[in-house]
């Protein structure tokens, strides 16, 4: 094998690795939105802002208490659960009960909540870009493999692998939680048919609090995991809300395994697109896939049957 070919192979493999690792993180961001979508049939457009709050929690835990960003997941997760549940209870639920001219009122409300959160953050933390200077931020494990007599050197980013691992654990736990526990079954029942669930004696109102809390907690965890490799500023939420939305649609509105797959697909598409098409069109590639899925697979990549 010539050096040229092995160079190309190395590039391809490295791109797949980067895309996959990033996709793991995207999955976690998408999971929360997908869960909320599944149960409450609304898109939470404050999703990215909730992540931003968790990122600040992580940032301050590190700055003030020297807490490792990965440990602070343990703080961000419950904190965001409470915040999410409170938002649902005191803000969204009252609006959902009112018959309104626009059925999208709740969605508009989440946009408003997002704006308030990002502007509060702006007020409290200023527009500064902050990053957490952990020693392992740019650490990588190098793996030298030899293929056909040519050695390839692949690098695996340590913080991205840790994030991927934790995302995997959280995703799997969520799946088990929904499949095996009573509360999980109640959430699924509410997602399938809210009225029937209520008739079966499920307190659907409480279920929506739990769901919104859980969805927020998941994106909160994703935020904490993102801090070591990225940075945080008050307006960070918007692009990530968009990504979560694409993932949710890719996965098929509310489908949990679908959201995981959607995240990985988006991560890979962005990575491959930026190498083989153009880095400038990275975001456009995500949207092209999004539109294609909407046209040809309206129920998402894992969707089956018709509505």
């Amino acid at each position: 094998m010539s050096g040229q070919v092995s160079g190309q192979l190395e590039l391809l493999l490295q791109t797949l690795i980067s895309g996959l690792l990033l996709g793991g993180l995207y999955s976690l961001i998408g999971l929360g939105m997908s869960l909320i979508m599944g149960v409450m049939k609304i898109i939470n457009l404050a999703h990215g802002e909730l992540m931003m709050i968790a990122m600040y929690v992580t940032f301050w835990c590190f700055t003030l208490a020297g807490m490792d960003p990965y440990v602070s997941v343990l703080i961000a997760f419950p904190l965001l659960f409470i915040l999410g549940a409170a938002i649902q209870k005191f803000l969204i639920a009252p609006v959902m009960e009112v018959e309104s001219i626009l059925p999208e009122n709740q969605v508009l409300l989440t946009v408003g909540i997002g704006l308030v959160l990002s502007n509060l953050a702006l007020l409290a933390f200023s527009a500064d870009y902050r990053s957490v200077p952990v020693s392992y931020a740019s650490k990588a494990i190098y793996w030298d493999v030899s293929v056909g007599g040519q050695s390839l050197s692949l690098s695996f980013s340590v913080p991205m692998m840790v994030a991927f691992g934790i995302a995997l654990v959280l995703g799997a736990s969520l799946f088990l939680f929904l499949a095996r526990t009573d509360l999980g079954r109640m959430i699924r029942a509410t997602a399938q048919d809210k009225r029937a669930a209520a008739l079966m004696g499920i307190n659907t109102k409480r279920i929506t609090y739990v769901t919104f809390g859980l969805g927020s907690a998941l994106v909160g965890a994703a935020g904490s995991l993102l801090v070591p490799v990225y940075y945080v500023f008050p307006q960070i939420g918007g692009p990530f809300t968009l990504k979560a939305f694409i993932i949710t649609v890719l996965g098929g509105m509310g489908n949990i395994p679908g959201a995981v797959l959607g995240g990985v697909v988006l991560g890979l598409a962005e990575a491959l697109g930026s190498v083989y098409v153009s880095l400038g069109y990275k975001d456009a590639i995500g949207f092209v896939i999004f539109v294609l899925v909407l046209i040809f697979l309206p129920k998402g990549i894992l969707g089956k049957g018709s509505a």
């Binding site: 160079g7 190309q8 190395e10 590039l11 490295q14 791109t15 980067s18 895309g19 990033l22 702006l122 200023s126 527009a127 500064d128 870009y129 990053s131 200077p133 931020a137 740019s138 650490k139 990588a140 190098y142 050197s153 690098s155 980013s157 993102l226 490799v229 990225y230 940075y231 500023f233 008050p234 307006q235 692009p239 962005e270 990575a271 491959l272 930026s274 190498v275 153009s278 880095l279 400038g280 990275k282 975001d283």
Partner: protein, 400 residues
């Protein structure tokens, strides 16, 4: 009798307005200048630095009695680096507030948008950071620029490449904005002229989480130089991820902007070491007042200023100079006075001339800086150097 009284009345009426004209040197006169700046959002760091520098300079001038008796007052509004917001802010400045002079903005996109508005309303606009070539290539009469255009940012780098680095190949990564594209284009054109192989020229969208795929491509092409044109956070991430992927060109070189801010050192941490960048100004330049400005700025904000601060600071002194020379405060007279500017500032000489395709354009020498032991040192040209350059860079794995 009647005619006499009439004449008296007319005479009084003629004299009366003169009595109400305030004395020429009264201290309570103010001259308000409208400034649109990004104070929130991705470019807020640059906006904050410029704001602090504008206010510092205005306070200094006002403390010395102002310019020709006028206190300089700034009306600073936040554009969030959005051209549409900048446009409406400046429209308001001109049509409602009736400010006869506009300065400010940070990104090239915003500066270009504001320039269009100023030209439309025939109000002079002094650009002091927006660097895309096209801003002063439109033949606009009311648009003046203090900073050199981006195609000349690299002038210092070019001589460094020619005399020291002598690269065979170069990879260009740039943010696909007006500034990024035009700065990178200038480098590309120069390299092609000099026979340096451009192995990659890739624009990217700001705010990406993961540059690794494209950096991996850079790695596989093994260029001598990696040249990047980025704002702050992208610059930090590019360097962190280059370190992670163990990319070892002879030098990483930035095209000013994000690579010159103190925050770059904080965010990129040890990945910023040895990184070089083109720059227009450093605290070590020999212009009168530069050192004092840098010291005072450091004292006031706790951070060292980059060229962005020096631009804003110098702009204020240009305004003071214009006020001293202008015939009146009408937009037309201010423009004429601005056009005739020929002075020295802490940022360098300011004189607006026409050359190549530019009009009303200031020009100056540019420098090269390098991060050495977590500090910015001016390393090129030799005459302005404050430190010895390190070239080629040691490999990442060989650093302690």
């Amino acid at each position: 009798m009647k005619t006499r009284r009439l004449i008296m009345v007319i005479a009084l009426l003629l004299v009366a307005p003169l009595l109400f004209v305030p004395p020429a040197a009264a201290q309570d006169k103010t001259f308000t200048v409208g400034i649109s700046l990004p104070l929130t959002g991705a470019e807020a760091k640059f906006g904050e630095m410029k704001k602090a520098a504008y206010e510092m300079a205005a306070a200094e001038i006002n403390a010395k009695g102002g310019a020709k008796g006028y206190r300089i007052v700034y009306d600073i509004q936040d554009s969030g680096a959005k051209p549409e917001t900048a446009t409406s802010i400046v429209e308001k400045f001109i049509t409602i507030n009736k400010y006869p002079l506009i300065v400010g903005e940070y990104t090239s996109q915003c500066s270009y948008a504001v320039a269009g508005v100023a030209e439309k309303y025939k109000v002079p606009y002094l650009v002091d950071t927006g660097a895309a070539d096209k801003i002063t290539q439109q033949g606009w009469k009311y648009v003046y620029r203090l900073n050199p255009p981006s195609s000349l940012y690299g002038a210092g780098l070019f001589t460094f490449f020619e005399e020291v680095a002598k690269p065979q190949s170069i990879a260009l990564l740039y943010e696909n904005t007006d500034f990024g594209t035009s700065t990178s284009k200038a480098m590309q054109v120069w390299c092609e002229k000099k026979g340096i192989k451009v192995v990659l020229s890739e624009g990217y969208q700001a705010g990406a989480v993961d540059f690794k795929p494209i950096l991996q491509k850079v790695k596989s092409l093994r260029p001598d130089i990696v040249y990047m044109v980025s704002y702050l956070m992208d610059a930090s991430l590019l360097m962190r991820q280059s370190k992670e992927l163990d990319i070892n060109p002879k030098a990483f070189v930035g095209g000013a902007a994000g690579f010159t801010l103190p925050e770059f050192l904080e965010n990129a941490a040890d990945a910023s070491e040895y990184v070089m960048s083109a720059t227009l100004w450093t605290p070590q330049v020999k212009y009168p007042g530069a050192k004092e400005f840098a010291e005072n700025y450091q004292k006031k904000t706790g951070k060292a200023p980059s060229y962005h601060g020096a631009e804003a600071y110098a702009t204020t002194y240009v305004i003071a100079d214009v006020l001293k020379r202008t015939k009146s405060l009408s937009a037309e007279d201010l423009r004429a006075a601005l056009a005739a500017t020929d002075m020295m500032t802490a940022f360098g000489p300011v004189k607006f001339t026409a050359f190549d395709q530019f009009t009303n354009q200031n020009s100056m020498d540019t420098l090269v800086l390098q991060v050495i032991k977590k500090k910015y040192e001016t390393v090129w040209p030799k005459s302005a150097a404050s430190g010895e350059f390190v070239f080629p860079f040691p490999r990442w794995r060989d650093r302690k």
